[in-house]
Protein backbone atom coordinates (compact mmCIF):
# COMPACT_ATOMS: atom_id res chain seq x y z
CA UNK A 1 0.00 0.00 0.00
CA UNK A 2 1.48 3.36 -0.95
CA UNK A 3 1.72 5.79 1.89
CA UNK A 4 -0.04 9.17 1.87
CA UNK A 5 3.35 10.82 1.32
CA UNK A 6 3.97 8.71 -1.83
CA UNK A 7 0.56 9.62 -3.25
CA UNK A 8 1.14 13.32 -2.66
CA UNK A 9 4.58 13.06 -4.29
CA UNK A 10 3.08 11.37 -7.39
CA UNK A 11 0.32 13.99 -7.59
CA UNK A 12 2.84 16.87 -7.34
CA UNK A 13 5.04 15.23 -10.04
CA UNK A 14 2.05 14.91 -12.36
CA UNK A 15 1.19 18.60 -11.89
CA UNK A 16 4.81 19.58 -12.63
CA UNK A 17 4.85 17.45 -15.82
CA UNK A 18 1.53 18.93 -16.94
CA UNK A 19 2.81 22.43 -16.27
CA UNK A 20 6.02 21.89 -18.24
CA UNK A 21 4.38 20.22 -21.24
CA UNK A 22 1.58 22.79 -21.21
CA UNK A 23 4.09 25.52 -22.10
CA UNK A 24 4.16 24.23 -25.71
CA UNK A 25 1.09 23.74 -27.84
CA UNK A 26 0.35 20.04 -27.92
CA UNK A 27 0.16 18.39 -31.32
CA UNK A 28 -1.90 15.24 -31.47
CA UNK A 29 -4.61 13.46 -33.42
CA UNK A 30 -4.78 12.22 -36.99
CA UNK A 31 -2.31 13.63 -39.51
CA UNK A 32 -3.54 16.56 -41.62
CA UNK A 33 -2.21 16.19 -45.17
CA UNK A 34 -1.59 19.36 -47.18
CA UNK A 35 -1.03 19.11 -50.93
CA UNK A 36 1.24 21.78 -52.41
CA UNK A 37 1.31 22.35 -56.15
CA UNK A 38 4.88 22.05 -57.45
CA UNK A 39 6.32 25.15 -59.05
CA UNK A 40 9.70 23.80 -60.10
CA UNK A 41 10.37 20.53 -58.29
CA UNK A 42 9.10 18.41 -55.43
CA UNK A 43 12.29 19.04 -53.46
CA UNK A 44 11.94 22.81 -53.82
CA UNK A 45 8.25 22.65 -52.86
CA UNK A 46 9.02 20.69 -49.69
CA UNK A 47 11.79 23.08 -48.73
CA UNK A 48 9.59 26.13 -49.34
CA UNK A 49 6.60 24.86 -47.43
CA UNK A 50 8.22 22.93 -44.58
CA UNK A 51 8.14 25.96 -42.23
CA UNK A 52 4.54 26.81 -43.19
CA UNK A 53 3.50 23.22 -42.56
CA UNK A 54 5.24 23.26 -39.16
CA UNK A 55 3.49 26.55 -38.33
CA UNK A 56 0.10 25.14 -39.33
CA UNK A 57 0.80 22.08 -37.20
CA UNK A 58 1.43 24.33 -34.20
CA UNK A 59 -1.67 26.41 -34.83
CA UNK A 60 -4.03 23.53 -35.52
CA UNK A 61 -2.65 21.34 -32.74
CA UNK A 62 -2.51 18.49 -35.25
CA UNK A 63 0.46 16.88 -36.97
CA UNK A 64 0.61 18.20 -40.55
CA UNK A 65 2.32 16.63 -43.51
CA UNK A 66 3.38 18.44 -46.71
CA UNK A 67 2.70 16.56 -49.94
CA UNK A 68 4.25 17.96 -53.15
CA UNK A 69 1.95 17.39 -56.14
CA UNK A 70 2.39 17.83 -59.87
CA UNK A 71 -0.17 20.33 -61.26
CA UNK A 72 -1.50 17.78 -63.73
CA UNK A 73 -2.07 15.19 -60.96
CA UNK A 74 -3.66 17.54 -58.47
CA UNK A 75 -7.32 16.93 -59.19
CA UNK A 76 -6.99 13.17 -59.36
CA UNK A 77 -5.19 13.06 -56.01
CA UNK A 78 -7.58 15.52 -54.43
CA UNK A 79 -10.54 13.44 -55.60
CA UNK A 80 -8.92 10.32 -54.17
CA UNK A 81 -8.73 12.00 -50.76
CA UNK A 82 -4.94 12.15 -50.77
CA UNK A 83 -5.01 15.39 -48.79
CA UNK A 84 -7.31 17.52 -46.63
CA UNK A 85 -6.03 20.91 -47.71
CA UNK A 86 -4.37 22.14 -50.88
CA UNK A 87 -2.33 25.04 -52.19
CA UNK A 88 -2.82 25.52 -55.93
CA UNK A 89 -3.11 28.09 -58.68
CA UNK A 90 -6.39 29.88 -59.33
CA UNK A 91 -7.28 27.78 -62.40
CA UNK A 92 -6.90 24.61 -60.35
CA UNK A 93 -9.11 26.24 -57.74
CA UNK A 94 -12.02 26.68 -60.17
CA UNK A 95 -11.50 23.11 -61.45
CA UNK A 96 -11.53 21.74 -57.90
CA UNK A 97 -14.49 23.92 -56.97
CA UNK A 98 -16.48 22.73 -59.96
CA UNK A 99 -15.60 19.05 -59.72
CA UNK A 100 -14.69 18.45 -56.06
CA UNK A 101 -16.55 21.23 -54.23
CA UNK A 102 -13.36 22.51 -52.62
CA UNK A 103 -13.82 25.24 -49.94
CA UNK A 104 -12.02 28.53 -50.57
CA UNK A 105 -9.84 29.46 -47.57
CA UNK A 106 -7.37 32.22 -48.44
CA UNK A 107 -5.51 33.71 -51.37
CA UNK A 108 -1.76 34.19 -51.39
CA UNK A 109 -0.27 37.67 -51.69
CA UNK A 110 2.93 38.11 -53.65
CA UNK A 111 4.34 41.06 -55.57
CA UNK A 112 2.93 44.41 -56.56
CA UNK A 113 -0.62 43.19 -57.21
CA UNK A 114 -1.01 41.57 -53.78
CA UNK A 115 -3.42 38.64 -53.92
CA UNK A 116 -4.02 39.23 -57.64
CA UNK A 117 -1.89 38.90 -60.71
CA UNK A 118 -2.04 39.05 -64.50
CA UNK A 119 -0.60 37.57 -67.67
CA UNK A 120 1.20 39.51 -70.39
CA UNK A 121 2.26 38.92 -73.97
CA UNK A 122 5.76 40.28 -74.45
CA UNK A 123 8.14 40.82 -77.34
CA UNK A 124 11.71 42.09 -77.41
CA UNK A 125 12.00 45.86 -77.28
CA UNK A 126 13.52 45.89 -80.80
CA UNK A 127 10.88 43.54 -82.28
CA UNK A 128 8.97 44.60 -85.38
CA UNK A 129 5.80 43.18 -83.79
CA UNK A 130 3.72 46.15 -82.71
CA UNK A 131 0.31 44.63 -81.93
CA UNK A 132 -1.42 41.31 -81.30
CA UNK A 133 -2.50 41.25 -84.94
CA UNK A 134 1.18 41.13 -85.94
CA UNK A 135 1.52 37.77 -84.14
CA UNK A 136 -0.03 35.92 -87.07
CA UNK A 137 2.50 33.53 -88.55
CA UNK A 138 4.96 34.10 -85.70
CA UNK A 139 6.60 31.73 -83.21
CA UNK A 140 5.36 32.00 -79.67
CA UNK A 141 6.21 30.34 -76.36
CA UNK A 142 3.68 29.73 -73.59
CA UNK A 143 3.90 28.54 -70.01
CA UNK A 144 2.32 25.22 -68.98
CA UNK A 145 -1.32 24.73 -69.97
CA UNK A 146 -2.71 24.85 -66.44
CA UNK A 147 -0.98 28.17 -65.68
CA UNK A 148 -3.61 30.91 -65.35
CA UNK A 149 -1.20 33.80 -66.05
CA UNK A 150 1.30 31.82 -68.13
CA UNK A 151 -1.13 30.34 -70.62
CA UNK A 152 -4.86 30.86 -70.06
CA UNK A 153 -4.80 34.65 -69.77
CA UNK A 154 -2.67 35.09 -72.90
CA UNK A 155 -4.67 32.52 -74.87
CA UNK A 156 -7.78 34.59 -74.09
CA UNK A 157 -6.10 37.87 -74.98
CA UNK A 158 -5.35 36.43 -78.41
CA UNK A 159 -8.86 35.05 -78.89
CA UNK A 160 -10.24 38.47 -77.92
CA UNK A 161 -8.01 40.02 -80.60
CA UNK A 162 -9.37 37.59 -83.19
CA UNK A 163 -6.30 35.37 -83.27
CA UNK A 164 -6.61 31.62 -82.80
CA UNK A 165 -3.28 30.43 -81.35
CA UNK A 166 -3.92 26.94 -82.73
CA UNK A 167 -4.30 28.10 -86.32
CA UNK A 168 -2.87 31.59 -86.71
CA UNK A 169 0.57 31.16 -85.16
CA UNK A 170 3.38 29.59 -87.14
CA UNK A 171 4.18 27.47 -84.11
CA UNK A 172 3.86 27.57 -80.35
CA UNK A 173 5.86 25.74 -77.74
CA UNK A 174 5.74 24.99 -74.02
CA UNK A 175 9.11 24.53 -72.28
CA UNK A 176 9.86 21.41 -70.27
CA UNK A 177 11.20 20.95 -66.76
CA UNK A 178 11.57 23.48 -64.00
CA UNK A 179 11.55 27.31 -64.13
CA UNK A 180 9.18 27.27 -67.11
CA UNK A 181 8.14 30.90 -66.74
CA UNK A 182 11.75 32.08 -66.71
CA UNK A 183 12.50 29.90 -69.74
CA UNK A 184 9.56 31.50 -71.57
CA UNK A 185 10.91 34.98 -70.89
CA UNK A 186 14.48 34.04 -71.82
CA UNK A 187 13.09 32.35 -74.96
CA UNK A 188 12.11 35.76 -76.27
CA UNK A 189 15.08 37.57 -74.76
CA UNK A 190 17.54 35.35 -76.66
CA UNK A 191 15.48 35.49 -79.86
CA UNK A 192 14.42 31.82 -80.02
CA UNK A 193 10.76 32.95 -80.16
CA UNK A 194 9.05 36.09 -81.42
CA UNK A 195 6.66 36.49 -78.48
CA UNK A 196 6.05 34.95 -75.07
CA UNK A 197 3.22 34.42 -72.61
CA UNK A 198 4.82 35.78 -69.45
CA UNK A 199 3.26 35.99 -66.01
CA UNK A 200 3.48 39.59 -64.81
CA UNK A 201 4.72 38.39 -61.41
CA UNK A 202 7.70 36.61 -62.99
CA UNK A 203 8.58 39.70 -65.03
CA UNK A 204 8.44 41.71 -61.81
CA UNK A 205 10.59 39.27 -59.83
CA UNK A 206 13.17 38.86 -62.61
CA UNK A 207 13.41 42.65 -62.94
CA UNK A 208 13.82 43.01 -59.18
CA UNK A 209 16.54 40.37 -59.18
CA UNK A 210 18.34 42.07 -62.07
CA UNK A 211 17.96 39.08 -64.40
CA UNK A 212 16.20 41.26 -66.98
CA UNK A 213 15.77 44.97 -67.43
CA UNK A 214 12.47 46.80 -67.74
CA UNK A 215 13.72 48.05 -71.12
CA UNK A 216 14.32 44.58 -72.57
CA UNK A 217 10.70 43.98 -73.54
CA UNK A 218 7.53 45.60 -74.78
CA UNK A 219 4.21 44.45 -73.36
CA UNK A 220 1.85 43.93 -76.30
CA UNK A 221 -1.12 43.24 -74.04
CA UNK A 222 -1.86 42.55 -70.41
CA UNK A 223 -4.81 40.51 -69.18
CA UNK A 224 -7.35 41.50 -66.58
CA UNK A 225 -6.22 41.12 -62.99
CA UNK A 226 -7.15 37.72 -61.51
CA UNK A 227 -6.64 36.03 -58.12
CA UNK A 228 -3.27 34.42 -57.40
CA UNK A 229 -2.47 31.04 -55.77
CA UNK A 230 -5.06 29.81 -53.34
CA UNK A 231 -5.52 27.58 -50.31
CA UNK A 232 -8.60 25.38 -50.21
CA UNK A 233 -10.04 22.61 -48.06
CA UNK A 234 -11.60 19.34 -49.17
CA UNK A 235 -15.38 19.30 -48.76
CA UNK A 236 -15.26 16.59 -46.07
CA UNK A 237 -12.87 18.54 -43.82
CA UNK A 238 -14.40 19.46 -40.47
CA UNK A 239 -15.64 23.06 -40.64
CA UNK A 240 -14.02 24.02 -37.35
CA UNK A 241 -10.66 22.76 -38.60
CA UNK A 242 -11.06 24.65 -41.89
CA UNK A 243 -11.87 27.88 -40.02
CA UNK A 244 -8.80 27.40 -37.79
CA UNK A 245 -6.66 26.75 -40.87
CA UNK A 246 -7.87 29.96 -42.57
CA UNK A 247 -7.37 31.94 -39.37
CA UNK A 248 -3.81 30.64 -39.04
CA UNK A 249 -3.04 31.71 -42.63
CA UNK A 250 -4.55 35.18 -42.21
CA UNK A 251 -2.64 35.74 -38.97
CA UNK A 252 0.73 35.04 -40.58
CA UNK A 253 3.00 38.10 -40.55
CA UNK A 254 6.48 38.71 -41.93
CA UNK A 255 8.00 38.08 -38.50
CA UNK A 256 6.20 34.81 -37.75
CA UNK A 257 8.83 32.13 -37.18
CA UNK A 258 9.00 28.42 -36.47
CA UNK A 259 11.88 26.24 -35.36
CA UNK A 260 13.19 23.98 -38.11
CA UNK A 261 16.17 21.76 -37.29
CA UNK A 262 17.04 24.01 -34.35
CA UNK A 263 16.90 27.21 -36.40
CA UNK A 264 14.32 30.00 -36.25
CA UNK A 265 12.92 30.35 -39.77
CA UNK A 266 10.59 33.06 -41.09
CA UNK A 267 7.55 31.21 -42.41
CA UNK A 268 6.45 33.60 -45.17
CA UNK A 269 9.93 34.37 -46.41
CA UNK A 270 10.75 30.67 -46.72
CA UNK A 271 7.56 30.10 -48.73
CA UNK A 272 8.13 33.18 -51.02
CA UNK A 273 4.81 34.59 -49.86
CA UNK A 274 3.97 38.13 -48.70
CA UNK A 275 0.85 37.11 -46.77
CA UNK A 276 -2.70 35.85 -47.20
CA UNK A 277 -6.00 37.52 -47.91
CA UNK A 278 -9.57 36.32 -47.57
CA UNK A 279 -11.36 36.53 -50.91
CA UNK A 280 -14.72 35.51 -52.28
CA UNK A 281 -15.48 32.79 -54.79
CA UNK A 282 -16.99 35.35 -57.16
CA UNK A 283 -13.54 36.99 -57.45
CA UNK A 284 -12.60 33.92 -59.52
CA UNK A 285 -15.41 34.44 -62.05
CA UNK A 286 -13.03 36.14 -64.47
CA UNK A 287 -10.97 32.94 -64.60
CA UNK A 288 -14.14 30.92 -65.19
CA UNK A 289 -14.96 33.23 -68.09
CA UNK A 290 -11.46 32.77 -69.52
CA UNK A 291 -11.56 28.97 -69.14
CA UNK A 292 -14.93 28.77 -70.91
CA UNK A 293 -13.72 30.93 -73.76
CA UNK A 294 -10.48 28.98 -74.17
CA UNK A 295 -12.31 25.62 -73.91
CA UNK A 296 -10.22 24.57 -70.95
CA UNK A 297 -10.98 22.55 -67.82
CA UNK A 298 -13.34 22.44 -66.03
CA UNK A 299 -15.49 23.48 -69.01
CA UNK A 300 -13.61 21.70 -71.77
CA UNK A 301 -15.77 20.19 -74.50
CA UNK A 302 -14.60 17.94 -77.28
Amino acid sequence: MPTRFTLIAILVSLFVIMGVTGCDKTVSGPVVRIGYMNCNSAAETLQRFKPLTAYLSEQLGRPCEAVPVDTQDFEEQFAAGAFDFGHFNSLLYIILKENQDVQLLATEKRGQFGSSTAGAIIVRRDSSIQSLADLRGKRMIYGPQLAPTGYLAQYNLMLDAGIDPERDLDYYAIPRGSFKHEKVIYGVYFGAFDAAAAPVLDLEIMTREGKISANDFRVLAQSEIIPYCTFGAAKNVDEELAVKFRQALLELGPDTTVTIDGEQVKVLKAAWIDGFEQREDRDYDLIRKMARRANMPPYQEF
Partner: protein
Protein backbone atom coordinates in the same frame (compact mmCIF):
# COMPACT_ATOMS: atom_id res chain seq x y z
CA UNK B 1 49.47 82.21 1.51
CA UNK B 2 52.10 84.41 -0.16
CA UNK B 3 55.65 83.24 0.46
CA UNK B 4 57.38 86.21 -1.12
CA UNK B 5 56.96 89.24 -3.39
CA UNK B 6 56.96 87.04 -6.52
CA UNK B 7 53.85 85.25 -5.28
CA UNK B 8 52.08 88.56 -4.71
CA UNK B 9 53.04 89.78 -8.18
CA UNK B 10 51.80 86.54 -9.72
CA UNK B 11 48.49 86.76 -7.90
CA UNK B 12 48.01 90.42 -8.92
CA UNK B 13 48.71 89.47 -12.54
CA UNK B 14 46.11 86.72 -12.41
CA UNK B 15 43.50 89.06 -10.93
CA UNK B 16 44.22 91.65 -13.63
CA UNK B 17 43.88 89.09 -16.42
CA UNK B 18 40.52 87.81 -15.07
CA UNK B 19 39.25 91.40 -14.71
CA UNK B 20 40.27 92.30 -18.29
CA UNK B 21 38.60 89.14 -19.67
CA UNK B 22 35.41 89.85 -17.73
CA UNK B 23 35.42 93.39 -19.03
CA UNK B 24 35.83 92.23 -22.60
CA UNK B 25 33.00 89.73 -22.24
CA UNK B 26 30.63 92.30 -20.79
CA UNK B 27 31.43 95.03 -23.30
CA UNK B 28 31.65 92.79 -26.40
CA UNK B 29 28.83 93.62 -28.89
CA UNK B 30 26.53 90.69 -29.94
CA UNK B 31 27.05 90.02 -33.64
CA UNK B 32 23.39 89.51 -34.65
CA UNK B 33 24.21 89.45 -38.32
CA UNK B 34 26.53 86.48 -37.78
CA UNK B 35 23.77 84.47 -36.02
CA UNK B 36 21.15 85.34 -38.60
CA UNK B 37 23.71 84.53 -41.29
CA UNK B 38 24.06 81.04 -39.89
CA UNK B 39 20.28 80.61 -39.87
CA UNK B 40 20.13 81.90 -43.43
CA UNK B 41 22.86 79.47 -44.44
CA UNK B 42 20.91 76.60 -42.96
CA UNK B 43 17.71 77.68 -44.72
CA UNK B 44 19.60 78.02 -47.98
CA UNK B 45 21.13 74.58 -47.52
CA UNK B 46 17.69 73.09 -46.83
CA UNK B 47 16.19 74.83 -49.85
CA UNK B 48 19.04 73.70 -52.09
CA UNK B 49 18.79 70.14 -50.85
CA UNK B 50 15.01 70.19 -51.42
CA UNK B 51 15.39 71.56 -54.95
CA UNK B 52 18.12 69.02 -55.66
CA UNK B 53 15.84 66.23 -54.45
CA UNK B 54 13.03 67.38 -56.72
CA UNK B 55 15.40 67.67 -59.68
CA UNK B 56 16.73 64.18 -58.90
CA UNK B 57 13.25 62.65 -58.62
CA UNK B 58 12.15 64.33 -61.86
CA UNK B 59 15.19 63.01 -63.73
CA UNK B 60 15.24 59.51 -62.19
CA UNK B 61 11.50 58.89 -62.64
CA UNK B 62 11.25 60.52 -66.08
CA UNK B 63 11.00 57.14 -67.91
CA UNK B 64 8.01 56.21 -65.73
CA UNK B 65 6.30 59.53 -66.43
CA UNK B 66 6.84 58.98 -70.16
CA UNK B 67 5.43 55.44 -69.94
CA UNK B 68 2.42 56.72 -67.98
CA UNK B 69 1.83 59.30 -70.68
CA UNK B 70 1.95 56.58 -73.34
CA UNK B 71 -0.40 54.35 -71.36
CA UNK B 72 2.33 51.70 -71.08
CA UNK B 73 1.23 50.73 -67.58
CA UNK B 74 2.80 47.24 -67.26
CA UNK B 75 6.13 48.64 -68.47
CA UNK B 76 5.82 51.51 -65.98
CA UNK B 77 5.43 49.01 -63.13
CA UNK B 78 8.53 47.12 -64.29
CA UNK B 79 10.54 50.34 -64.51
CA UNK B 80 9.42 51.20 -60.98
CA UNK B 81 10.56 47.77 -59.84
CA UNK B 82 13.94 48.43 -61.41
CA UNK B 83 14.24 51.86 -59.78
CA UNK B 84 13.20 50.39 -56.41
CA UNK B 85 16.13 48.01 -56.68
CA UNK B 86 18.52 50.96 -56.95
CA UNK B 87 16.63 53.20 -54.52
CA UNK B 88 15.01 50.93 -51.93
CA UNK B 89 12.79 52.87 -49.59
CA UNK B 90 12.30 55.83 -51.96
CA UNK B 91 8.59 56.52 -51.54
CA UNK B 92 8.26 58.31 -54.86
CA UNK B 93 8.11 54.78 -56.30
CA UNK B 94 5.11 54.04 -54.08
CA UNK B 95 3.43 57.24 -55.19
CA UNK B 96 3.86 56.44 -58.88
CA UNK B 97 2.84 52.82 -58.29
CA UNK B 98 -0.35 54.20 -56.76
CA UNK B 99 -0.88 56.22 -59.94
CA UNK B 100 -0.33 53.16 -62.18
CA UNK B 101 -2.71 51.00 -60.13
CA UNK B 102 -5.32 53.77 -60.24
CA UNK B 103 -5.08 53.86 -64.03
CA UNK B 104 -5.37 50.06 -64.06
CA UNK B 105 -8.54 50.27 -61.97
CA UNK B 106 -6.88 48.52 -59.01
CA UNK B 107 -8.17 50.98 -56.44
CA UNK B 108 -7.25 49.09 -53.27
CA UNK B 109 -3.63 48.66 -54.41
CA UNK B 110 -3.61 52.35 -55.35
CA UNK B 111 -4.84 53.37 -51.88
CA UNK B 112 -2.26 51.21 -50.14
CA UNK B 113 0.64 52.56 -52.17
CA UNK B 114 -0.45 56.18 -51.90
CA UNK B 115 -0.86 55.84 -48.12
CA UNK B 116 2.73 54.55 -47.86
CA UNK B 117 3.95 57.51 -49.92
CA UNK B 118 2.04 60.17 -47.97
CA UNK B 119 3.00 58.70 -44.58
CA UNK B 120 6.67 59.05 -45.53
CA UNK B 121 6.39 62.35 -47.39
CA UNK B 122 3.45 64.67 -46.58
CA UNK B 123 4.54 66.99 -49.42
CA UNK B 124 2.33 64.90 -51.70
CA UNK B 125 -0.75 66.42 -50.03
CA UNK B 126 0.73 69.92 -49.66
CA UNK B 127 -0.77 72.14 -52.34
CA UNK B 128 2.20 74.53 -52.04
CA UNK B 129 4.76 71.80 -52.73
CA UNK B 130 6.13 71.03 -56.18
CA UNK B 131 5.49 67.37 -55.30
CA UNK B 132 1.79 68.05 -54.73
CA UNK B 133 -0.39 65.11 -55.89
CA UNK B 134 -3.65 66.08 -54.21
CA UNK B 135 -5.67 65.70 -57.39
CA UNK B 136 -4.56 62.10 -57.89
CA UNK B 137 -4.99 61.16 -54.23
CA UNK B 138 -8.40 62.81 -54.09
CA UNK B 139 -9.55 60.89 -57.17
CA UNK B 140 -8.36 57.56 -55.76
CA UNK B 141 -9.98 58.21 -52.38
CA UNK B 142 -13.30 59.39 -53.78
CA UNK B 143 -13.59 56.46 -56.19
CA UNK B 144 -12.01 53.81 -54.00
CA UNK B 145 -13.68 54.35 -50.64
CA UNK B 146 -17.33 53.69 -51.61
CA UNK B 147 -16.24 50.56 -53.47
CA UNK B 148 -14.21 49.38 -50.48
CA UNK B 149 -17.03 49.96 -48.01
CA UNK B 150 -19.36 47.90 -50.21
CA UNK B 151 -16.89 45.06 -50.36
CA UNK B 152 -16.36 45.17 -46.62
CA UNK B 153 -20.11 45.04 -46.03
CA UNK B 154 -20.19 41.86 -48.09
CA UNK B 155 -17.15 40.48 -46.29
CA UNK B 156 -17.21 41.75 -42.70
CA UNK B 157 -14.07 40.78 -40.83
CA UNK B 158 -11.86 40.73 -43.92
CA UNK B 159 -8.72 42.15 -42.36
CA UNK B 160 -6.97 42.94 -45.63
CA UNK B 161 -9.88 45.08 -46.74
CA UNK B 162 -10.07 46.69 -43.29
CA UNK B 163 -6.41 47.66 -43.61
CA UNK B 164 -6.99 49.21 -47.04
CA UNK B 165 -9.99 51.08 -45.64
CA UNK B 166 -7.78 52.43 -42.84
CA UNK B 167 -5.29 53.61 -45.47
CA UNK B 168 -8.17 55.30 -47.28
CA UNK B 169 -9.32 57.07 -44.12
CA UNK B 170 -5.75 58.15 -43.47
CA UNK B 171 -5.51 59.72 -46.93
CA UNK B 172 -8.93 61.33 -46.47
CA UNK B 173 -7.73 62.85 -43.22
CA UNK B 174 -4.49 64.10 -44.80
CA UNK B 175 -6.43 65.69 -47.64
CA UNK B 176 -8.73 67.40 -45.12
CA UNK B 177 -5.76 68.82 -43.22
CA UNK B 178 -5.38 69.48 -39.49
CA UNK B 179 -7.35 71.75 -37.13
CA UNK B 180 -7.35 75.36 -38.30
Amino acid sequence: MFQDRFDRLLFAGLLLTVAVLAGLLITAPIDASHVSGRVMDRQLEQEMSYQARIAFLTRRYQPVIVQLGQGALPEALLTLEEISRDLPGEVHSDLLRGDVFFRMGQLDRALTNLAVAVRQNPDYVDSASPLNQRQLIDAVVSQGMPQLRDRLRAQPGNRSLEQVLKDGYYLQSRLAGGCE
